[in-house]
Amino acid sequence: MSTERPLPRIDGSVRRVVVVGASLAGLRAAEALRDSGFDGRLTLVGEEAEFPYDRPPLSKQVLLGEAAAHDAGLPAHRPVDAEWRLGVRAAGVDPLHRQVLLADGDRLPYDRLLIATGTRARPWPVPEEAALDGVLTLRTAQDAAGLVARLDAGPRRVLVIGAGFTGSEIASACRERGLGVTVVERGPAPLVGALGGVLGKFAAEVQRAHGVDLRCGVTVTALEGSRGRLVGARLSDGSRVAADIAVVCLGAVRNTEWLDGSGLAAGPRGVACDAGCRAFDMYGIVTDEVFVAGDVARFPHPLFGYQMLSLEHWGNAVAQAEVAAHNMVSPGPRRRPHLTVPAFWSAQFGLNIKSVGVPTYSDRVVIAQGSPEEGRMVAVYGYRGRVTAAVAVNRAKWLEHYLRMIETAAPFPPPPGAADRSGEPVPVPSDVPDPRLLSHGPTVALTGHHPDRHITVVRAE
């Protein structure tokens, strides 16, 4: 019989936890920490002055006037008994002394640090044009309130730059409000960066059928103003669009600059971490005290060739935060990996789009159920003969079946025989464009192939 004492459930030496980023991942991590029995000191630092709120409604219900921008508070699952430092930015980390530096000069000591600083909207690259009245982005509740006020004022035409998920959802809301909208997308179709060619073509048809003036394969070369106000845009095909609002939907920038000098592997693609959410330092050595979760993290995933993944997915932020929280206070052998299959949803033009897996990690796609003509379908994606993703359009309840296939690396194409198939399913190339051809950043990025030359390497002492 063993005389060894059982491993304690939580590591009692962890007394002070600091979470930087008080949004979805930060809040869910704080709750999970308390759930796990952590009773030490917990501090949440957030640059926004508001308590954590939910972003997905900002480009959907909020724009339609069905919910107020400042009303989308995240439901608290349990009291977190934390010290909230809201409206203040974290400006740096001193890993040697285990302190977070705040912009107001304070220093917060930690035994464990969680980085959950997410992303911000990528601004229009020309500062003078970005500063024109009427040029907006959409990431925060404040952004949404501003955009709603503009839409309420009844603009003659809205220009949406970039037809990723956010851009397409904004275009949808504008059409539902009866506003004229022009969408300009550098790539061949809307959503093509996330979903590939087949669904991209479908999305283009849907947008046009809803009266969107959709221009693909085109870029905005300049935003034009008159007396400080936006009046229109010039496009790369030589045409001009008159618009009083432009919403810049060029994807997201990861909030990692504050980590410059920290010695962590932090850069434009996010903060790299292991499967247990422990951050890597700049030498690729895993840290024991610093953890990462949510949009700002990039992590290896075994189902996708151990590629480093960056996800801008609500569900990933929640799942990863829970794993990070668990691992922060658990002794080594009790730590868990974050292996959740990526999942994402979007609502636009009356369609409920839901994705599982990584559609861009594919070479072929097949419509396994329904059809584009019916406006309902399940597209299944495969890479080298196994299922890696599925996207449902108005057919979300079937996804669990395909999730199982992804989890078990089931052969692609999936076997025929579905009740609602129309015709014999034929796999075609998935046509995932090079991300550089898109106006917007992809919300799912495989970041392992290209060695990341942009990482700021800063030597610690």
Partner: protein, 405 residues
């Protein structure tokens, strides 16, 4: 013992009070082929997998042994309700029915009923006064959901007795009773179903000109983007909503009351902390689900389940109640734990056919059991345990539950 007769033993009336040992046997055997060519599945993973497999049909026409009676009824113009259809027809009809019932278009309909339900529950409980013994089925668990669904649909209360008689015949026709000729029983069931559907169709038609705020009025009112029901579709859907809208909740409430009397510590905990009731209702749906099995599935192509090939068209019976107690999914599955976490039970099924009325059933069970616990003391107990059960192995629950309180 061979598993060839397992289903016969499960459906045998003697098994009704405690089918769980037979379900354990079923899980041991994986996918169990029966002597009549049907297949039984009762392990959690496999049941979930099949509930989400688009190659599994709920349409009776997909069966190799298509029921003659069904074809005859259809030739007469009867259409099956969405519970017996596959996508895309299933999705279309369910979508039209969902529009006035739940989110996103009608998020408030069930919430708005809460006060009504609480009042009905209280009135029934007030009827316990001065009686030492009550029948929790006849005096409480049955009239509550019947009154609620009647009001929701907008059925005159005087007609509910007739609707009950039709319902009883329809439910009896779904049973597996070796003593009876199944064809005769099914025909009787379909006749009752048709009369009920005709009644509801006439009622709905009368709402077209005189709408009120009930569900039938909404269903014949303005169509949404999914379009409107044809009259035959409206009839079968209304009949489905009526039957499924109370038959199952009766058992949920009765099974719940019985389970709580058998577990006085849990009852005491819930009396002290009514906030635990939503979680307790989920546990009841796992532990004593009102719908024990789904008898009407079949594969559209040969499929492999846990190493067994189930041939196209074979009857496939998914035993939800067995999956709910699979030790591979739920720690200590035979323990009733009102605070159980990670409780993804199959009490409402799962996948595209997952219970349409689940939000209503949850609210009713929560309100009913809370009100009941507040009224009956810690020493309340069944006069007979086990109590006499209803015949059905599918919709399982006590026929009477005499309680001394």
């Amino acid at each position: 013992m061979s598993t060839e007769t397992l289903f016969r033993r499960i459906t045998d009336y003697a098994a009704r009070p405690d089918p769980y040992p037979l379900y354990a046997e079923l899980r041991e055997h994986g996918v169990a082929r029966q002597e009549d060519g049907s297949y039984l599945v009762g392990t959690y993973d496999e049941v979930v997998q099949l509930l989400h497999d688009p190659r599994i049909s709920s349409d009776a026409h997909s069966r190799a042994d298509v029921d003659e009676e069904l074809l005859r009824a259809e030739a007469d113009g009867m259409t099956p309700a969405f519970i017996g259809l596959d996508d895309p027809e299933h999705e279309r009809l369910r979508g039209i029915a969902m529009r006035p019932f739940g989110p996103p278009h009608s998020p408030g309909r069930i919430d708005a009923l809460q006060d009504d339900i609480a009042r009905i529950a209280q009135e029934l409980i007030d009827g316990f006064d001065g009686r030492e013994e009550v029948d929790l089925v006849d005096d409480f668990a049955y009239p509550l959901p019947v009154t609620v669904i009647g009001r929701l649909l907008g059925i005159p209360s005087g007609d509910m007795g007739q609707l009950r008689r039709w319902t009883d015949i329809v439910i009896a026709s779904l049973d597996f009773d070796p003593g009876e000729d199944p064809a005769v029983k099914r025909r009787r069931g379909r006749e009752a179903g048709r009369e009920m559907a005709d009644y509801l169709g006439d009622l709905a038609a009368s709402r077209r000109d005189h709408p009120s705020d009930d569900l039938l009025s909404a269903l014949v009112g303005d169509p949404g983007p999914e379009g409107a029901f044809r009259h035959e579709e409206l009839k079968s859907t209304a009949a489905l909503l009526l039957i499924a809208g109370h038959e199952t909740t009766v058992n949920l409430i009765t099974n719940g009351a019985l389970t709580l009397m058998r577990h006085p510590e849990a009852a005491a905990r819930l009396r002290n902390d009514p906030g635990l009731m939503p979680s307790a209702v989920e546990e009841l749906l796992r532990y004593e689900p009102p719908v024990q099995l789904l008898p009407q599935r079949s594969p559209l192509t040969d499929i492999e389940v846990a190493g067994v090939t189930v041939p196209r068209g074979a009857p496939l019976i998914l035993v939800l109640a067995a999956a709910n107690r699979d030790p591979l999914r739920f720690p200590e599955p035979d323990r009733f734990d009102p605070a159980r976490r990670d409780n993804q039970h199959l009490g409402f099924g799962s996948g595209i056919h997952s219970c349409f009325g689940a939000p209503l059933a949850r609210v009713e069970a929560r309100i009913a059991l809370t009100a009941l616990l507040a009224r009956i003391g810690a020493d309340a107990h069944p006069v007979e345990d086990p109590p006499p059960y209803r015949r059905s192995p599918v919709l399982r629950g006590p026929r009477h539950l005499l309680v001394r309180h």
